[in-house]
């Protein structure tokens, strides 16, 4: 199934929630959605027999200067098609629903996005840092991140 067909189908079901279909000849096509009902959209994509997106390949956070972006790469084992969903949250209140109950693999991916960008996935059962130490400060992959001078008595910069 091509992304534009999926886009049409989603538009029918979710209307306003689905913003646009971005097509670019040299790069991947993606569907932009609003963050509020992302879990419902994903559940629909997973359970609908026409899509069967049973596999969350990748969940990545992005720093878009003013906003934070979250990108979902989906894959269907059975129908062998892929889909990219993109959503944005404001930097001062980066909240959106968690997908842990849709795909269990989202657990660690979301923790990583929280660790690196400070995106707050609501409904996640264990949203703590995963790669950095638990008492680390700041969100390292944000563009305005300054690395700390010292951590536990060890100098960080060279």
């Amino acid at each position: 199934m091509k992304p534009n067909e999926i886009f049409k189908e989603l538009k029918v079901h979710f209307g306003e929630e689905i913003t646009e279909l971005v097509e670019n000849p040299s790069s991947d096509t993606y569907i932009s959605v609003k963050p509020e009902k992302i879990d419902e959209i994903c559940r629909f994509l997973r359970d609908n027999d026409a899509f069967k997106f049973d596999f969350l390949t990748l969940l990545s956070g992005l720093d878009l200067k003013e906003k934070l972006g979250i990108v979902y790469h989906l894959y269907s084992m059975e129908l062998k098609h892929r889909l990219v969903l993109k959503t944005e949250v404001p930097k001062d209140s980066p909240n959106l629903p968690s997908l842990v109950r849709v795909w269990r693999t989202a657990d660690w991916h979301e923790r990583e996005a929280f660790d690196m960008f400070g995106i707050n996935f609501q409904g996640h059962h264990n949203l703590i840092r995963i790669l950095c130490p638990y008492d680390w400060e700041g969100y390292p992959l944000r563009k305005d991140y300054k690395e700390p001078e010292e951590y536990h008595g060890n100098r960080v910069p060279y």
Partner: protein, 180 residues
């Protein structure tokens, strides 16, 4: 150092007998190096390769131990991150004296390729541990690590035991006098 802690300081007897005893003790320590099985990153694979049949670390008398208590030296093979630094220090402190450290690879020496933007990388393991031998390379070739091992053994062979104890005792005495 085990038995040596109980030996009285043989001050004034640093002649032939104690020189020979010192040589024997150093020989034992240099020829029987048990290392801690401790892989950190990419270098650990080369370290395993040195361990394996093709290069065979046991030729030098190096036997793997998995408990730090029984190890004589530790090879820091790879990048030490800040999260790891505390643990590494603790592992080092758990080792029994006399203990040695080989820093293997650029990351352990100085942070390696991660020195500039690595916000979570410790820039050189010598910031937390005393390093005896540095082996450069990213990762070092097995031959380089073998060279490092031989260097470490040479270093152990040339160590002072009794004279050092005498000197330390003198320094200690002097410090106490100054303090008073």
């Amino acid at each position: 150092m085990g038995l040596l802690n109980r030996l009285n300081d043989p001050i004034g007897l640093d002649g032939i007998i104690f020189g020979t005893v010192e040589d024997l003790l150093n020989w034992g320590r240099s020829k029987s190096d048990w290392y801690l099985q401790f892989g950190l990153a990419c270098c650990a694979i080369e370290f395993m390769a040195v361990n394996a049949s093709h290069f065979d670390m046991m030729r030098y008398g190096c036997i793997p131990r998995s408990s730090p208590r029984q190890a004589d030296f530790v090879i820091i093979s790879g990048t030490v991150t800040l999260k790891m630094a505390d643990r590494l220090k603790r592992v080092y402190e758990q080792m029994a004296e006399p203990k040695y450290v080989i820093a293997m690879g650029s990351c352990a020496n100085s942070g390696g390729p991660y020195w500039e933007h690595g916000y979570h990388v410790l820039k050189g393991v010598d910031r937390i541990l005393p390093v005896d031998v540095y082996v450069p390379g990213c990762p070092p070739r097995p031959e380089a690590l073998q060279e490092g091992l031989i260097l470490l053994q040479k270093k152990i062979r040339m160590e002072e035991i009794f004279r050092k104890r005498k000197r330390l005792a003198e320094e200690d005495l002097a410090n106490q006098m100054n303090y008073k």
